[in-house]
Point group: C2
Chain length 354, copies 2
Amino acid sequence: MKKHNFSAGPCILPQDVLEKASQSILNFNNDNLSLIEISHRSQPFINVMERAQTLVKELLEIPKGYSVLFLQGGASMQFLMVTLNLMKLNGKATYINTGAWAKKAITEAEKIGETIILADSSDKNYTYIPKEYKIPRDVDYFHCTSNNTIYGTQIKKFPECPTLLTCDMSSDIFSRKIDVKKFDLIYAGAQKNMGPAGTTLVIVKDNILGKTGRNIPTMLDYNTHINKQSMFNTPPVFPIYVSMLTLEWLKDLGGVDIIEKENQKKAKLLYDEIDRNPLFQGTAEKEDRSNMNVCFLLTENKYQEKFDEMCHQTGITGIKGHRSVGGYRASIYNAMPIESIEILIKLMKKIEKL
Amino acid sequence: MKKHNFSAGPCILPQDVLEKASQSILNFNNDNLSLIEISHRSQPFINVMERAQTLVKELLEIPKGYSVLFLQGGASMQFLMVTLNLMKLNGKATYINTGAWAKKAITEAEKIGETIILADSSDKNYTYIPKEYKIPRDVDYFHCTSNNTIYGTQIKKFPECPTLLTCDMSSDIFSRKIDVKKFDLIYAGAQKNMGPAGTTLVIVKDNILGKTGRNIPTMLDYNTHINKQSMFNTPPVFPIYVSMLTLEWLKDLGGVDIIEKENQKKAKLLYDEIDRNPLFQGTAEKEDRSNMNVCFLLTENKYQEKFDEMCHQTGITGIKGHRSVGGYRASIYNAMPIESIEILIKLMKKIEKL
């Protein structure tokens, strides 16, 4: 049975990408060698790395003066690297706390230096994006999380920022247009819209680095990786290759403009049904609703077992809400076809009529 | 044409592993989902992680009291983590410098605290393993590199160690029996005998941790990962799965005892030819020769072009020596069939007769 994969991440990837990825394991580049048994210093893999970097630059229209890196360690390692690379000795950083991942970033910064939380939506279980805060000028950087996977909220308008603007875009990068020149550092774990788990995209403005006065460990210094074209040590070959394939797929589709419209359409379809159907209720503030992760509850618990059973029978998978929110979470990333959302909506209508 | 892949790493993996890995990208676990699009918190992946950890414990006969982790960042990140987790504030670490990778480990430790180099084979371009040194008792740990990929040397007998014994086994783990209880911490990048690039095996004795008095960043603290069964954040799913497959393959073959004999046989075959054939000459001291990386030179440069051409025609790939040694390097890891070595030897005999 065909599955409708609403998993929050690692998550659905385009079928075409999966087929090419599978093939590359047996015979890459028609060389009768597997992608995963060739040297990362060989020309075929150097081509992959360069192509992946170029695609990121093209798709996000990244201006000159930024580097694109494929690192390891996930967003969790970036929580640390951002602080080490940007917070001056005896400096200050500012954050907004919009969910579990934002909080982990804050915790890491606090281990290193003075960390100011400018706004916090934990009072309502992170169901909204705070907007009433002002970023001070005399701090080293501001950090925010563009999309909160667990709670289904998303920053629609980034704040005016008089200091360095850094952002964790793990769960919505490549899903909508962003004005990269307004950001100084963007990072994203691959395993939502970009590829499989195991690599982390970093887009960093070169001239903000090397100014903290800190003794940064080699592997945690962005300049180490910039100076070696993201190949200081053996990179995670397969995750980078699959990211390249996914970015090619997005480019062939028409790029970020096109996918943004698709994503808006898909999200609207589902939110409209949640708002219309008396059996369902969204959990996030309407104006802050994520176009990637749609969180909702059943208004009557007695239908839960039945609805879960219907989802299971229909091949709908990965739709259980995070334990801290409950209910359901339909993650509808770039690769999610509108047909899968229509099938979910059909079930929602069906259970209403029971 | 079938290739004979002598690449130093990423390197040859068993064909059977490649086929299963390729299949998992299309349909994993017969669930009609790809391995790389399911949640790492789903039972099928938890099973993979647990199986991989169990296989490491079985194959290396790891006693109780050790944890097995699959981390990210390669050996290069371990250079840092070992020091942060084991070197006390105002403490001391000891190293031996047996090559480029050992030196990188030393450089990282020096950034953090007092680092004593007990022995150093750079005087002869790392062509031997120093043995005349004594590890002091009053230091936090001793670090060595079991096999030096670039120079083709290997520690045959580990030193008596009155402090914590740590070892980078990136290029020979699972190739020979090791007495794990003599070590306190072992780490290895996957991309030689274990799997594809993108994960790093760490075997650490639990009771040595948490004693430095340092404020260790979350992601760099081994205890973070131990406490979450190596799933603190999204792990590199595919590299871990392929590592599991490779370890299954090794177990089915009979385990480390059997592969060690195979490896000795393969290496002897090639070294015997190098020693016999007047056109070739080994670069490493005989008693320290690696059974994984066989480094050799042509004694007469005029044959180089012809030999390279013959290798190319025969499908022999990845045999060029590292630029700091020159000549040739035949990496003959676990998955390298003896037939490929016989073909290489045939060419060596052929060029002798020209």
